[in-house]
Symmetry: C2
Subunit: 188 residues, 2 copies
C-alpha cells in the first residue's frame, strides 16, 4: 500500500489569518518519523520552502540518516530513513508520481465540512483497496490556506475527544489518524 | 467517566535493564497534557521521585498554570490545568482514591502477554461502564520495572503498525491509546 505523509509549513495561516511559512519543530521530525515508519509510510515529506529552515531540517535529517546519530541509534536511523525534504506540496506530488507511476490522491483534515469530506472508515477502505497512491497532509500553525485546501481530493473530519477542547498537537493528531486509517482492526 | 493518566519516570528500565529514574522531557508535558485534556482526563500525573527533576517540571507547570504563559496562551493554560506532580505511583493512586472515594483500577501496556492482558475493546467497554475510576500508566525509557508491572490490574497489548518496526514515541502511543479507549466511534 503506497501511502505517503507530508507536514506542510507553507501556505499556512498564522493566528491573525495571514498566510506565512512556519518554522521547523525538531519533535515534528522525530515523533512523526517514528509514527510514519511504524505505520509503513513510504516517505514522510517535510514541505518547507524557506531555504534557511530547509537547510536546518536537512542537517538534522543527515545527522540521523548518515551522520553520527545513525551509528549509535539504529531505531532512530530507521525512522529517519522515511524523511524527505521538498519545497512545495506540488514537488511532493511530483516525486510520488515519479515513483509510483500515478498521481496520488491527496487528503487532509479540516474543522469545516466540504463537499469532499470523507469519513475515517471510508478513507480506510480506500487505502485498503490499494489501487492508488495516497498523500496525507498535516498542517502546522493555524492550518493550510483555503484555496490550496480546495484542491485536495478528500477532507477528513478533525479528531474530537470528550468535550469542546480540541487542541491536539500535530504529532498526536498524525498518530491518531494513521492508527485510524492503517492500524490493526482492534475493535469488535 | 473518571479516567486519569500517569507518566512513570520510576521504576523504569534503562537500555541495560537496570532500574533507574528517567529525566523530564518537556514535550511529554505539553503534548500529553493537550491530548489528556482533549480526551477528558481528570488529571495527568507526572510520576517523578527525583527532587531536582520534579522541581524543574513544577516550574514549567507553574509557568503555564499561573505564570506568564497562562496569560498569553489560554488553550495551553487549559491543557496544563490537568497536570499534577506526584513522587510515586502509590501517591497518584492515593490522590485518586481521595477524590473519587474508590481505589482506581490500574492499566498499562507491555510487549509481553500476561494472565491479565486485556483487549482495547474490552477496556473501552469497561471505561464506558463508568462505575470505577481508572489510572492508565505510560512508561518512559525501556519500560516499567516488572514487579511493579505485576501489581497492575490490566495490561494492554502494545500498538502495532504495518510491520516489525514498533518504536512509537510515548507521546504518540498515549494519543493512540486514548483515542482507542475513549475516542468517538468512527468505525462502522
Amino acid at each position: 500500500m503506497a501511502v505517503y505523509i507530508g507536514l506542510v509549513h507553507y501556505p499556512i495561516y498564522n493566528r491573525n489569518m495571514e498566510v506565512v511559512t512556519t518554522s521547523l519543530t525538531n519533535y515534528d521530525l522525530h515523533d512523526i518519523a517514528r509514527t510514519a515508519r511504524t505505520y509503513g509510510m513510504v516517505k514522510y515529506f517535510i514541505i518547507q520552502p524557506n531555504e534557511t529552515q530547509a537547510k536546518l531540517a536537512q542537517d538534522i535529517i543527515d545527522y540521523w540518516q548518515t551522520g553520527y546519530g545513525s551509528q549509535y541509534h539504529e531505531d532512530r536511523k530507521e525512522a529517519f530513513s522515511v524523511l524527505q525534504m521538498v519545497d512545495t506540496i506540488e514537488e511532493a506530488i511530483r516525486q510520488i508520481q515519479q515513483r509510483e507511476g500515478k498521481v496520488p490522491l491527496v487528503a487532509t483534515t479540516d474543522a469545516r465540512t466540504y463537499a469532499n469530506t470523507i469519513s475515517y472508515q471510508a478513507l480506510r477502505d480506500k487505502l485498503a483497496a490499494n489501487d492508488q497512491p495516497y498523500l496525507l497532509l498535516f498542517g502546522t500553525g493555524w492550518g493550510i490556506e483555503k484555496t490550496t485546501m480546495a484542491k485536495f481530493d478528500f477532507i477528513l473530519a478533525p479528531i474530537y475527544g470528550a468535550g469542546d477542547y480540541n487542541h491536539l498537537p500535530v504529532r498526536a493528531a498524525a498518530a491518531i489518524i494513521l492508527d485510524r486509517l492503517l492500524g490493526e482492526k482492534w475493535w469488535k
